[in-house]
Amino acid sequence: MNDRNTDTGIGAAVLRKEDRRFITGFGRYTDDINEVGQCHAVFLRSPYARADIGEIDVSAPLEMDGVIAILTGRDMAADGLGDLPCGWSVKSKDGSDMISAPHPPLASERVNYVGEPYGVVLAETRQAARDAAEAVATDFGELEAVVVLKTATSSEAIHEAVPQNRCYLWELGDEQATDAAFQNAAHVVTLELTNNRIIPNAIEPRAALATHNPASDEITLYTTSQNPHLARLILSAFVGLSPEHKLRLIAPDVGGGFGSKIFVYPEETTVAWAARRIARPVKWAADRSESFLTDAHGRDHLSRVELALDADGQFLGLRVRTTANLGAYLSLFAASVPTYLYGTLLAGQYRTPAIHVEVEGVYTNTVPVDAVRGAGRPEATYVVERIVEVAARQLGIDPVELRRRNMIQPDQFPYQTPVALVYDTGNYQASLDRALDAIDYGGFPARRAASEAAGKKRGLGFACYIEACGLAPSQLAISLGAGVGLYESGEVRVNPTGSVTVFTGSHSHGQGHETTFAQIVSDRLGVPFDDVEVVHGDTGRVEFGLGTYGSRSVAVGGSALVVAADKVIAKGKLIAAHMLKADPAAIDFESGEFSVRDSNQSLSFGEVAFAAYVPADYPEDLEPGLSEKAFYDPENFTFPAGTHIAEVEIDPQTGVTEVVAFVAVDDFGEVINPMIVEGQVHGGIAQGIGQALLEHGVYDDQGQLITGSYMDYCMPRADDLPDFDVDTTITPCTHNPLGVKGCGEAGAIGSPAAVMNAITDALGTEEITMPATSEKVWRICRGD
C-alpha cells in the first residue's frame, strides 16, 4: 500500500462520501422524486383478519373530485398478473414439498390479514384518494380468523390447499444420535422459549413511483428496495408485469431496510401495473400505519429446547422443536428464515456432537413474517445461548467456564458441525477473553453487592454467538431450495482520464458502500479515493445484482469488485507492455504504477487509462477500453462470531431495567472501514436491546394489530440505551480475497440473548419472555 492510501485505503476510518448529501438535505429518497402528471395511490385494505370479499361498490367515490380510477384485485386478475412467489422451497421431513398458498398482489376473493390490499384508488391528490378510499363500500363476509400461533395447527384451515395450516414440518440433524445422547446424559436441561414478533420499522416508509412510456412500453419504477434486480426478475418472470428488458427499477437513496425492503410487496407491484393501466405516473408513499400493518414482520417463534450434558458439563446433544409463524402468505424469503438460516446455526460456537431440530412452519391470519436483521440467526442464538446459560445455573458451573469447556478450539478449523455447515475459521476464546476484560468480569460481584445495597438487582448475561453470512455459495443454496444463485456482480470502469466508476449489484441503504467500496477499489488500483465513484441500485445502470441482506455486501459484492479490479490490472499490463515495448509477463503493478521489472521504465495508472481509449497503434489482439466485470460466487458462507455481554440493573420498585453496560467483541475478519463497522454494530445492538426490552408486535384475538403506531409499539429511543463498548478480534475469512466476513447483523444477533441472560440472572428466574417490559419485571419483583 502506498502512502496516499493509508488515509483512505483498506482499514482506514474514512469519513463517508454519502454523508454530504444526507446532512444537507440533498438525499434523494423515493418520496422526494416526482413526475410531471403524477397521480396518487391510496390502497383499499381489509379491516378484517379473514373475510370473503363481496361486492365492491365504487360508484360514489368514482364521482368524487379528483378521482381518476379505482382498480381492484379482480381487475388485476383479469389482466393476468401472477402471484407473488416465495423464492425458497423447503421440504418436509417426509420428503414432501412445502405447501405454498397462492398470494395475489391484490386480493380478489378473500383477504387473510388486516391491512391486506384488495384495491387501489388513484386520484389527483393524496387527500382526494384517501377520501375516496373511505367512501368505497365493500361487502365483507367475515370469517373466523386464526391468530394464535400455539393453536394454529388445530384451527380451521386458512387456505384450502393447506391442511392444519402447516406449510412444512422440516428437520435437520441426526435424530437417532440425538436421542442416544439424551439417554446417556448425566443432566438434561429443558427450556420453553418465545421469540417475540418484531416489526422492522425502517424510518423511511416504503414508497413507489412508476411511469409507463406507451411508445417504448417501458415501465420505470422508483422503489424502496434492497435488491432492485431481484425485484425486477420476480416482477417480470413470476408476476408477469412486463418483460425484464422493459422494466427498469431504481432504488435511489433508501432510508434503512433491515430486511423489510428485500421483498416484493403488493403495493409496489400494483403501482407499476396501475401506471400502465391508467397511462399516468403513479405515486405511493406508505404512512407509518401502513408500514406497521404491511411490512413483513420478524421472528415469532415458540420453541422447546433440551440440552444433554455429561457429568463434567460437556454438551452431548441438543434437541429443538420450533413452531414458526409465517403469517398469511409466504413472503419472498419466508420459508428459508426459520429453517436453513436457523437450524444450521444451532451448533453455535460449540462441539455439541448431536443436534436435531424440527421446525413447523405455520400460517396464521397475520401479515407475512420474513427476514428481519439477522433472520433466523438471532433466533438460533437465543435458543443456544439461553439454554447454555440456564445449564450453567442449574449445574452450578460458571457460565464462562461452561462455554469454554465446550467451545470449538482454534486448531479444530475447518470444523464440520452436525447441522450441515463447515466453519472455515475462528477464535472464539479470543473474543470471549477480550469481552471479559472489557466488562471487568472480576469486578462484577462487587458491583452486584453495591446495587443490592442500594435496593437494586444487578445481572450479567453472555451471548457467544455465531452467524453464517456472506450469502451464499450458489450451488449449496440452490441444492437447499433457493430459486436463484447468490453470487454478486461488480464492474470496474476506468474512465479515459483515469477516474473510476464502480458498479455494484449490492445496495446501500445506510451501510455506506459508496465509501467502503471506493476504499476497496482505490486501494487495489492505487487511484485516489476521491476519484472513485460507486453506482448502485439501478437496473438501468448496473448489469445485475442480488442486493444487500445477510451481511453479504462486502464479502460477496466487495469480492466481485476485487476480481474485476484485478482484471483491470491484467488488461492494464497488456496495454503498458505494448506502450513500453516490453513483455507483458515483465510488467509489475504496484501503487498505481505499471513498471517493467528490473528497469526504470514505468507508466502511471492514468497514462495507461488514457492510452486504453486512444489506441493509436494497437496490435490486433489488444482491445481498446479499460472496463471489466466479474460475477463472484463465494465458496462457502462466512462465519462472523463473537461475545456480547450485557450488564443490567433493575429497580424492583418500578421494574425498569437499565442496561448499564454492553460489551460486544466481534470477529468480522478483516475490516475495511472500522468507523462504519462500529456503527453497524451499534445499530444492531440497539435493535436487539429493543427486542429484548421494548418491542413487541401484538395481534388481538380478532387479528387486529394492536401495536400499530409509535404510540403502541415501543421503539428504542436515545434515553433507553447506553453507550456501547465495541471492539473486534480478527481471524481473516479463508476463502474470499478480502478476508472479510460481514458485520451488518451481529449486533442484533448476540444482544437479545445477552440481555435476557442478564435479566434472568438479576431476577433469579427464567420465567420471563421478551420483551422484558418494566411491567413484567415489576410483577416478578413483587412476586405476582
Binding site: 418520496d31 424510518i203 456503527g679 453497524q680
Partner: protein
C-alpha cells in the same frame, strides 16, 4: 387561504387549504425535500424544522398556523462548502447511516444546544427523546451533539 412566511430567508405567499400541513408545503410546494416524513403520529421527529428558531415537528403544524413566521429547514442551516457545526459533527462522528432521520435529528440537536440543554450525555439522550433513529443506536449521535456543543 393565503399565508405569508419566510423559509430559509426567502419570503413566500402561498394559497393553502386550511388542513394543509407545514411539512407538505415544505416538501411538495417548495421542493424542500430534506425534511422527511417518518410517521403519522408526531413521534419520529424526521420532520423537525425550526420555527422562530425553535424545533417543531412540521407534521404537527398547519401551514396556516405559521402565517407571518420564520422557518428554517435543513437546507437553510449550512451548505456543503460551509457546513453548520452540527452537520460537520454528524459527519465526523458517523452519526448517520441511512440519513433518513438525520435532517430532523440535526434540527432538534441544534435547538437542544442553543437552549443550553446539551451539557452531558444524559441530557442529550433525554433531549433527543422525540427523534427516532433505527440505524445508529444513537451512540454516535450523542457523541456528535456533545462535540458540536463545544463548537457552537
Amino acid at each position: 387561504m393565503n399565508v405569508e412566511f419566510t423559509v430559509n430567508g426567502t419570503a413566500h405567499t402561498l394559497d393553502v387549504e386550511p388542513n394543509t400541513l407545514l411539512v407538505d408545503v415544505l416538501r411538495s410546494t417548495l421542493g424542500l425535500t430534506g425534511t422527511h416524513v417518518g410517521c403519522d403520529t408526531s413521534q419520529c421527529g424526521a420532520c423537525t424544522v425550526h420555527l422562530e428558531g425553535r424545533a417543531v415537528k412540521s407534521c404537527a403544524v398547519l401551514a396556516c398556523q405559521v402565517d407571518g413566521g420564520t422557518i428554517t429547514t435543513i437546507e437553510g442551516i449550512g451548505t456543503v462548502d460551509d457546513l453548520h457545526p452540527m452537520q460537520e459533527a454528524f459527519r465526523e462522528c458517523h452519526a448517520l447511516q441511512c440519513g433518513f432521520c438525520t435532517p430532523g435529528m440535526i434540527m432538534s440537536a441544534i435547538d437542544l444546544v442553543e437552549r443550553g440543554e446539551a451539557g452531558d450525555e444524559g441530557s442529550v439522550r433525554a433531549g433527543l427523546e422525540g427523534n427516532i433513529c433505527r440505524c445508529t443506536g444513537y451512540h454516535n449521535i450523542v457523541r456528535a451533539v456533545l462535540h458540536a456543543a463545544q463548537r457552537m
